[in-house]
C-alpha cells in the first residue's frame, strides 16, 4: 500500500469491523457449543434431552391442558394433560383461605397499601418519600386493624384493674407528660420510659373495639343489633392460603431485620452481660429446628400458660418465626461487622463519636451493605419456611392445596396444586432476589470485586 494514498492522518483511521467469522451467533456457537469434541458431544446430548423433555412439559401444562370443567372426570374428558380448572375454581380459597367472603375487601386493601408502605422503604426516588415513610411506620397498625379487625377490649384487660379505662387514661397522661418533659430537657431515658407505655396505650386504643364498635355504635354509625359494623373482627383461624403466607412472611421479614441488628450489635458489645445474653439467645434458637419451635408454640405452650388463657395461635407462630429469623439475621449481620477493618472503629473513636453515632454513621452502613446477599438469603429462607405451619394446623397456600386435593370430585390432581404453589413461591422469591441485586448495584461504591 502506498503511503501517499492514505486518506486518513496517522492514528485517525476508524476501527474496521472484525472479520465476519469472528462475530455473530455462528462464532458464539462455535466457541461455546462446538469448541471441542467433548463439547460437541455434550451439546448434542443436551439438545436431545431438551427435545425429549420440553415438548412433553409444554404439552402437559399448556397445549393439552383443560381449563374448564367442574370435576376431575370432566377435565379428563376434555384433555389428557393438566387440569387447571381445579386451580381456577379454588383460586379464592388459595388466596384467602377461609376468610369471610363479604370481608375480603379488607385484606385486598391491606395488600395494596402494603406496596404503598413498602415503596418508600425499598426505593429512594419515590415522590413524597418523607411523608410516605411516616405512613410506612403506621402501616402495621392499619394492617392489623384491616385484616384482624378490632381487638376485644376484654382480651386486652382494659376493663380490669381499679376502674378500667380511667386507669389507662391516667397511665397515658403520666407517660406522655414524662415523654414531653424528656424531649424538652433532652433526657433520653425519660423519653424512652415515657414513649413506651404511652405508645402502648395509643396502639391498644387504636386497635380496640371500644374505638371501632362501641363509639360508632353510640352515635349510630353502626348497629350492634343488626351486626352492621365498620370493621367486623375476623378470627385468625380463618386466615389461610396466600394471605397467611404473606402475613407470616412479611411480619417475619420486617421484624427480624431490626431485631437481628440489635442482637448482632449485642453480640459484638463490650458489655459482658449483654453479650452473654445475645450469644445465649442466638445459639439457643439456632440450635433448634424451626419445626420444633412451631410445635412448642402450638401445643406445648398451653401447658405452661395459666389455664383458660387464649393466646392466639397465629400470634404465637408469628413470634416464633420472627425470633427464629432474627437469630439467623444476627449472625449474617455479624459477618458484615467482622468484615470491617478495626481501623474503622478506631477512626470513629478518634473522632470522638459516641457508640450509637459510630454505629449509625460509620459501622452499620458498611456492614449492612456487605451483608445484603446474606440478609436476602435469610429472607427467602424464612419466606419458604412459612409452609412448615401446616404441621401445626395452620393452612397456608400449601396446606390449603393439600386439603383441596382430598375433595373427591378433584382427587388426584396433586401435580397441578404443587406446580401452582411452586410458581407462586418462585415469583415471590425471585422478586426478592432481583431486588437485592438492584440494592447491591445502587450501593456499589467500588469495593466490589
Amino acid at each position: 500500500m502506498n503511503i501517499t494514498t492514505q486518506s486518513y492522518k496517522p492514528g485517525e483511521h476508524p476501527s474496521l469491523p472484525p472479520p465476519r467469522n469472528l462475530v455473530g451467533p455462528v462464532k458464539w456457537a462455535k466457541d461455546n457449543l462446538f469448541g471441542s469434541i467433548t463439547n460437541t458431544i455434550l451439546t448434542i446430548v443436551a439438545v436431545y434431552l431438551l427435545y425429549l423433555i420440553v415438548p412433553a412439559i409444554l404439552d402437559y401444562f399448556f397445549f393439552n391442558a383443560a381449563f374448564e370443567g367442574s370435576s376431575r372426570a370432566e377435565c379428563r374428558e376434555i384433555a389428557k394433560g393438566a387440569c387447571w380448572a381445579f386451580i381456577d375454581e379454588r383460586i379464592s380459597v388459595f388466596t384467602y383461605g377461609f376468610y369471610p367472603v363479604e370481608e375480603r375487601w379488607r385484606p385486598n386493601l391491606a395488600f395494596v397499601l402494603l406496596f404503598v408502605a413498602l415503596a418508600p422503604v425499598l426505593f429512594d426516588k419515590v415522590p413524597y418519600r418523607g411523608k410516605l415513610l411516616v405512613f410506612s411506620l403506621l402501616y402495621p397498625l392499619l394492617a392489623v386493624l384491616l385484616i384482624v379487625g378490632p381487638v376485644s377490649v376484654e382480651s386486652m384487660h382494659f376493663s380490669q384493674g381499679v376502674s378500667g379505662p380511667l386507669t389507662w387514661l391516667v397511665i397515658f397522661a403520666f407517660a406522655s407528660a414524662l415523654f414531653v418533659y424528656g424531649s424538652k430537657t433532652h433526657n433520653a431515658l425519660a423519653m424512652v420510659v415515657g414513649i413506651v407505655p404511652a405508645g402502648f396505650v395509643l396502639v391498644a386504643f387504636f386497635l380496640s373495639d371500644a374505638l371501632w364498635i362501641s363509639i360508632p355504635d353510640s352515635i349510630g354509625l353502626t348497629n350492634a343489633a343488626d351486626d352492621i359494623y365498620i370493621f367486623e373482627p375476623v378470627d385468625t383461624h380463618l386466615f389461610g392460603g396466600v394471605l397467611l403466607t404473606i402475613i407470616i412472611g412479611v411480619t417475619g421479614i420486617t421484624l427480624s431485620l431490626p431485631i437481628g441488628i440489635v442482637l448482632a450489635l449485642g453480640r459484638y458489645s463490650n458489655l459482658p452481660a449483654i453479650r452473654t445474653l445475645c450469644i445465649m439467645f442466638i445459639e439457643f434458637i439456632r440450635g433448634v429446628p424451626l419445626i420444633t419451635l412451631l410445635f412448642v408454640a402450638s401445643t406445648m405452650l398451653s401447658y405452661f400458660l395459666p389455664p383458660g388463657t387464649d393466646f392466639d395461635l397465629l400470634l404465637r407462630v408469628l413470634i416464633m418465626v420472627t425470633l427464629f429469623a432474627s437469630a439467623y439475621m444476627a449472625e449474617v449481620i455479624r459477618g458484615g461487622l467482622q468484615s470491617l477493618p478495626k481501623g474503622q472503629f478506631e477512626a470513629a473513636d478518634a473522632m470522638g463519636l459516641k457508640y450509637w453515632q459510630t454505629m449509625r454513621h460509620i459501622i452499620l452502613p458498611q456492614a449492612l451493605k456487605v451483608s445484603i446477599p446474606g440478609i436476602v438469603n435469610t429472607f427467602i429462607g424464612l419466606y419458604k419456611d412459612t409452609t412448615l405451619v401446616l404441621i401445626i394446623g395452620l393452612l397456608d397456600i400449601l396446606g390449603v392445596g393439600k386439603t383441596a386435593i382430598s375433595d373427591p370430585a378433584w382427587n388426584g390432581l396433586s401435580t397441578e396444586v404443587y406446580v401452582f404453589v411452586a410458581v407462586f413461591f418462585f415469583v415471590s422469591c425471585f422478586g426478592m432476589s432481583r431486588y437485592s441485586l438492584y440494592l447491591e448495584r445502587k450501593l456499589h461504591t467500588g469495593h466490589k470485586r
Binding site: 376431575r72 379428563r76 375454581e89 379454588r90 379464592s92 380459597v93 384467602y96 383461605g97 377461609f98 367472603v101 378470627d235 383461624h237 389461610g240 410445635f295 402450638s298 401445643t299 406445648m300 398451653s302 401447658y303 405452661f304 389455664p307 383458660g308 395461635l313 401446616l390 404441621i391 401445626i392 394446623g393 393452612l395 396446606g399 390449603v400 393439600k402 386439603t403 383441596a404 386435593i405 382430598s406 375433595d407 373427591p408 370430585a409 382427587n411 388426584g412 396433586s414 401435580t415
Partner: protein, 338 residues
C-alpha cells in the same frame, strides 16, 4: 437434682393444666364454638370445597356434636393435624374432640391418655399392587418395596405381618395419602398399603383403575373412632351419645327429612326417647332434650352421612360391608338410648 426438680415442676404444671381443662362442655358452650381435630385432608373423610367449607365423613360427625351442644352444626372450628401431631394437639387442648380416622388401640387409650368413644368406621388394612407385578396374594410380596404412612397403626401392622410370615420388605416412608398415591403411581414402591377404604378411594382416582388390584388379605382390624382427652367423663359422655344417636337413628329409620314428623308423632317409644319426646336423656348429659333431634336434622343418620360422603353413589364408592347395621349383616351396633 436441680434438673429433676424442674422436670417435676413442669409435670405438675402440665397436670394442673389438664385438670383445669376438665369442664370441656362448659368451655365449648362459653366459647360458642367446637374445636374439632381432623386430618389435613383425606378423600371422603375430610376436605375443603371451593368456598373453603370443610366436608366429609369425619367432618359430619364433628358437625353433629356441634349441633347437639351449640344448636348449630356450622359452629365448628376445624384443627387440621397430621398423623404425628393429632394426639399432642388433643392433649394440649387445641381441640375438644378428635375425629381423624384414628384407629382405637389399647396403647393410645391407656398410654396416650385418651378416651375413645366408640367406632364410626370399621376398617382393615389391605395391599394394592399393579397387575403388572403378577402378584395375587400378599404372601407373594417377599422383598417388595412398600409405601407406608409414618406414625400410623398401618406402619406397625405391616412390620408385624411381614415378620410373622417371614418375608422381607423395603419401607418407603411417606406422610399423607396423597403423597402415597403419587409415589405409588410413579413406581417408587411396588405395594401401597393403608386401610382398605383408603385404597379403594385412591384407586377410584387412577387413570387406569383396572390395572391395579387390592389383594384379598386384610391383615388388621382398624376400628376408626373419635377420642377426647382422658379425665373429662361428662364431655366423653356427650360425644359418645351423639355418636350412638347417629347410629341408632338409622336403625329406627329416623332421617334428616322425617325427623320433625317423627318427633311430632313418634311411631314407637325408642324413637320418642331419642328425639326427647319421652324422658329427659338430654339433661343427663348436660344438654337439653332435643339434642339428638338437632344432630339428625343437621347431619342426618349414619346411613345418610355414609352415603353422602363415601357411599356407593360417590366417587369413592365404598360398600357398607362391616359398617352395615347389625340387622343388615354388619357390626354397627349402638347401645340403646334409654
Amino acid at each position: 437434682m436441680k434438673l429433676k426438680s424442674i422436670l417435676v415442676a413442669g409435670a405438675a404444671m402440665a397436670m394442673s393444666a389438664t385438670i383445669a381443662n376438665a369442664a370441656t362442655l362448659d368451655d365449648v358452650k362459653a366459647r360458642g364454638e367446637l374445636n374439632c381435630i381432623v386430618t389435613t385432608g383425606l378423600v371422603g373423610f375430610a376436605y375443603t370445597d371451593e368456598s373453603g367449607k370443610w366436608n366429609g365423613f369425619d367432618v359430619d360427625f364433628c358437625r353433629g356434636v356441634a349441633a347437639a351442644v351449640l344448636g348449630d352444626g356450622m359452629k365448628v372450628k376445624f384443627v387440621p393435624t397430621t398423623g404425628k401431631t393429632r394426639f399432642t394437639a388433643l392433649n394440649a387442648g387445641e381441640g375438644d374432640v378428635l375425629y381423624r380416622n384414628t384407629t382405637v388401640t389399647m396403647s393410645r387409650d391407656a398410654d396416650l391418655k385418651l378416651t375413645f368413644l366408640g367406632v364410626n368406621y370399621y376398617d382393615g388394612q389391605g395391599f394394592m399392587v399393579s397387575k403388572d407385578l403378577g402378584v395375587t396374594s400378599a404372601k407373594e410380596l417377599d422383598g417388595a418395596s412398600v409405601c407406608i404412612q409414618t406414625g400410623t397403626t398401618t406402619e406397625l401392622n405391616l412390620a408385624d405381618y411381614f415378620r410373622a410370615t417371614g418375608m422381607s420388605y423395603e419401607p418407603v416412608p411417606i406422610e399423607t395419602n396423597e403423597e402415597a398415591r403419587t409415589n405409588y403411581l410413579a413406581g417408587r414402591c411396588d405395594v401401597y398399603t393403608t386401610d382398605a377404604s383408603g385404597l379403594a378411594a385412591s384407586r377410584a382416582t387412577f387413570d387406569d383403575p383396572k390395572n391395579h388390584i387390592i389383594l384379598p388379605e386384610i391383615i388388621s382390624k382398624e376400628p376408626l373412632g373419635p377420642a377426647v382427652r382422658q379425665g373429662d367423663d361428662d364431655w366423653a359422655d356427650v360425644n359418645r351419645w351423639v355418636l350412638n344417636a347417629i347410629i341408632e337413628a338409622e336403625e329406627f329409620g329416623i332421617t334428616s327429612a322425617n325427623v320433625d314428623e317423627m318427633a311430632a308423632n313418634p311411631p314407637n317409644p325408642s324413637i320418642a326417647r331419642i328425639l326427647g319426646v319421652e324422658g329427659n336423656y338430654g339433661e343427663m348429659i348436660g344438654l337439653d332434650n332435643e339434642w339428638a333431634k338437632r344432630v339428625i336434622k343437621a347431619v342426618g343418620n349414619y346411613g345418610e352421612i355414609f352415603d353422602r360422603n363415601i357411599g356407593p353413589n360417590t366417587e369413592i364408592g365404598l360398600e357398607r360391608g362391616l359398617n352395615a347395621q347389625w340387622k343388615d349383616g354388619g357390626i354397627l351396633y349402638s347401645a340403646p338410648i334409654r
